[in-house]
């Protein structure tokens, strides 16, 4: 049941509505809109306006310095033949399809450990959440760059064992992996949500399973996972949407150019380069709308697929 249907059932009332009540309702509505005004203004000015503008720009040739020129579907047909764009899609899909499941698996694992009722749980919870607060930040991306540099911490440790590590971030074969690792490391927010979800599973199921002699693994597969599936679904949707849009980490780690050799050229990074670096804002706008379609499609598939694996208790 959605929040909207809950609300509408609340507003349904018995008995006829008097004139006085109607007027009072209208006044209440007016007050509500006035209270909403600051947010509405923000939404229209900062979000909807620019979005509509970018939709228009997507069909134009716009170099930022001169007024846009209508070119119809030209930007979209150009995208078909743009090899760097195809590469950026490949990079982004790899990041999402590898990074998101890995991150959620780690988040779930840590949540399961923390849920065992360990002493000082709030402390550990905070510690594990910390990377999520920091992970998207510029400072951590810079730190990452140092740790995984040719003479960074990782290679210094490897050197102790006589292994000469590559330049993790500066070698095109390992650079994307390093950024995925950074993403996995920021498992905190899905972890917190998993923890909350685990707390909601009634203990009686486990007790009953124990009476029947179920093993820990069986309990996990037969009780925890199905009961947690709505939460997994929620995390999956959020993380996929977020990952498609991720930008900061690749921008900082690669020094803004998606390098080496475009190996960390995320779709968003390429979009940024086109729009702000190469005076091709019309094309960049078209890319942004294409990304919206991709994310929309992924989310739709997610929701359709959820019918087959997400289990609702109620």
């Amino acid at each position: 049941m959605s929040a909207i249907s809950e609300l509408s059932s609340m507003s349904r009332r018995k008995g006829p509505v008097t004139e006085e009540e109607k007027r009072a309702n209208r006044r209440d509505n007016k007050a509500a809109y006035i209270f909403l005004l600051p947010w509405l203004v923000g939404l229209v000015v900062i979000t909807v306006g620019p979005m509509l503008m970018s939709l228009y720009l997507a069909f134009t040739d716009y170099n930022l310095l001169q007024p846009p020129e209508w070119t119809g579907l030209d930007n979209f047909t150009r995208m078909l033949g743009d090899a760097r764009l195809h590469n950026s899609l490949r990079v982004t899909f790899t990041y999402v399809l590898v990074g998101v499941p890995l991150q959620l698996a780690v988040a779930l694992l840590i949540a399961l450990v923390l849920d065992k009722g360990l002493r000082g749980l709030p402390f550990y919870r905070s510690v594990f959440y910390l990377p999520s607060l920091l992970g998207g930040s510029v400072a951590v991306a810079i730190l990452w760059k140092q740790i995984f540099g040719t003479t960074g911490l990782v290679n210094q440790v490897l050197a102790m064992f006589g292994i000469a590590g590559p330049g993790w971030i500066s070698d095109p074969s390992t650079s994307l992996g390093s950024i995925i690792l950074l993403h996995v490391w920021t498992f905190g927010s899905p972890m917190i949500i998993f923890l909350a979800g685990l707390r909601q599973i009634p203990n009686m199921y486990y007790e009953a399973a124990e009476v029947d002699g179920a093993t820990t693994l069986q309990k996990f597969w037969r009780i925890t996972l199905p009961m947690l599936s709505p939460i997994i679904f929620f995390n999956l949707v959020l993380q996929i949407i977020g990952s498609f849009q991720s930008f900061t980490q690749a921008f900082i780690v690669s020094g803004g150019n998606g390098g080496p050799s475009d190996s960390t050229m995320f779709f968003t990074l390429y979009l940024y380069q086109k729009g702000f670096g190469q005076f091709d804002m019309g094309y960049a706008s078209a890319m942004a709308w294409f990304l919206l379609v991709i994310i929309g499609a992924f989310t739709a598939v997610n929701f359709i697929a959820s019918k087959y694996w997400v289990f609702y208790d109620d």
């Binding site: 959605s2 930022l64 070698d171 803004g256 475009d262």
Partner: protein
């Protein structure tokens, strides 16, 4: 799908008691006031510089560069403001890497700085699109300026940039690295590219791990430009096309690969990492490279970062004759102005001060290259630091050896450096053959400058 179901009581609780009419009106008024305040706050941020009621004009001035440049430029601004109490200059500065993205956005938002430090790679782009002011209409004295430097800022769109300095492509040497390796510094009047390779490889071999004889080229168009000119080609032609073929740039990469194989230059990974490092942490400044490719005006800042003396060298040539190095004088950067500035007169006054006033020269010295104004150059001679003197001397020395002035970079040239960088790493990581990289790079460059 209630993820966090609300307690039953919250959903069931009825409407709150109705407040009295007067109270409600008060509440509505407060809400309107709050909303109005929020809207005002929103509209208050941003907006171009404007003159205030007391007749004071505020101008915004943006440049790229490091700490040293920020210090001297701020001092020059202060000197100008002292002479012109009704003009206030607001400085906006940052690194090269973010400068152009920011400028493009500001111009698009009709929020361009009034005075803009411009580069030759972008000046055509901005000029042809009408974003820069034609400075010739505002009485800036150009009579003392070096003619070649002055012409670099002229185009069909008028005089859209006044050269701030003259510099040249150089190789800078860190003598400390050579001394530690026990290798003699090369003689830049006679050295060839083979000497460059041999000497660099020798320094690497005799230095501790992680130190290399030379930094790799392949990260910008200056070193490519020199190479092409020595081979009878050029980066661009005078009609705004590429001046070379895929095979020319492939030859440049072939030699780079050879340098890399002989360990004369750092490994591919280290090259990529070095690209991102700011000047202060460059291999030359940190003593990790014996030789590196820089513009002449960057020597003082690099010496400061290295904490020791550096030496300016000519590029090697194919023939071993200094006369064949084919260097050229470049306008290091330009003073330009936004075509939408509300105060073109004041802007011109400030640019005139920077370009022609000895006071500005005494403060700025050679940070942006050798002064194009001959009078200022002579007047500040005594004030130059030893590092500045080295730069000025070098520029004077090569005067007789210069090649033809190169054609100005066409519109879209801002994208070329990134393409060179990207394909250089494709080549260094052995992901593409030099021939394939050449073909692809030239394709991309052609479409960048033709669009």
């Amino acid at each position: 799908m209630p993820l966090f179901p609300r307690p039953a009581t919250a959903a069931a609780s009825g409407a709150p008691a109705k407040p009295a009419k007067a109270k409600r009106r008060l509440r509505a008024t407060a809400a309107v006031a709050a909303a109005a305040a929020a809207v005002l706050a929103l509209s208050a941020c941003g907006g171009p510089a404007q003159s205030s009621a007391d007749g004071k004009v505020e101008l915004r001035f943006s440049w790229w560069g490091g700490d040293k440049r920020a210090q001297v430029t701020q001092a020059a601004i202060a000197a100008f403001e002292a002479e012109n109490p009704n003009i206030k200059i607001k400085a906006e500065y940052g690194d090269w890497s973010g400068y152009w993205d920011k400028l493009a956005t500001q111009v698009a938002a009709n929020d361009a700085p009034d005075i803009i430090q411009m580069d030759e790679k972008y000046i055509t782009e901005y000029s042809t699109r009408g974003a820069l002011l034609d400075l010739s209409k505002y009485g800036i004295d150009t009579s003392k300026l070096d003619e070649a430097a002055l012409n670099a800022g002229k185009s069909d769109d008028g005089l859209t940039g006044i050269a701030a300095g003259i510099n040249a492509a150089t190789i800078l040497a860190n003598p400390a690295v050579f001394k530690a390796a026990g290798v003699a510094l090369p003689d830049d009047k006679t050295w060839t590219w083979e000497d460059f390779e041999r000497i660099s490889a020798e320094v690497t071999a005799k230095s501790p791990k992680g130190t290399y004889g030379a930094a790799a080229y392949g990260t910008d168009e200056a070193s490519l430009g020199v190479w092409l000119r020595q081979n009878g080609k050029s980066l661009y032609t005078s009609d705004g096309k590429l001046g070379f073929e895929p095979s020319d740039i492939a030859g440049w990469w072939d030699f780079l690969k050879q340098l890399s194989e002989k360990k004369a230059v750092p490994s591919a990974s280290e090259v990529v990492e070095a690209e991102a490092a700011p000047l202060d942490q460059s291999g030359l400044a940190t003593g990790k490279n014996g030789l590196a490719f820089w513009w002449s005006n960057q020597l003082p800042a690099l010496e400061k970062a290295a904490g020791g003396e550096l030496q300016v060298l000519r590029f090697p040539s194919k023939t071993g004759k200094a006369a064949n190095t084919q260097l050229w004088y470049k306008a290091s950067q330009f003073w330009s102005a936004s075509s939408r500035t509300k105060h073109p007169e004041e802007v011109a006054k400030f640019i005139n001060f920077l370009a022609n006033d000895t006071k500005a020269g005494e403060i700025l010295l050679a940070d942006r290259g050798v002064y194009p104004n001959s009078e200022v150059r002579a007047a500040i001679q005594a004030k130059l630091t030893p590092a500045d003197v080295k730069v000025v001397k070098f520029i004077d020395q090569i005067k007789g050896e210069l090649g033809e002035a190169p054609a100005p970079p066409p519109k879209g040239a801002g994208a070329i450096q990134e393409i060179i960088k990207r394909y250089s790493s494709e080549v260094l990581f052995n992901r593409l053959s030099t021939q394939d990289a050449g073909t692809k790079a030239v394709d991309e460059m052609n479409s960048a400058i033709s669009s």
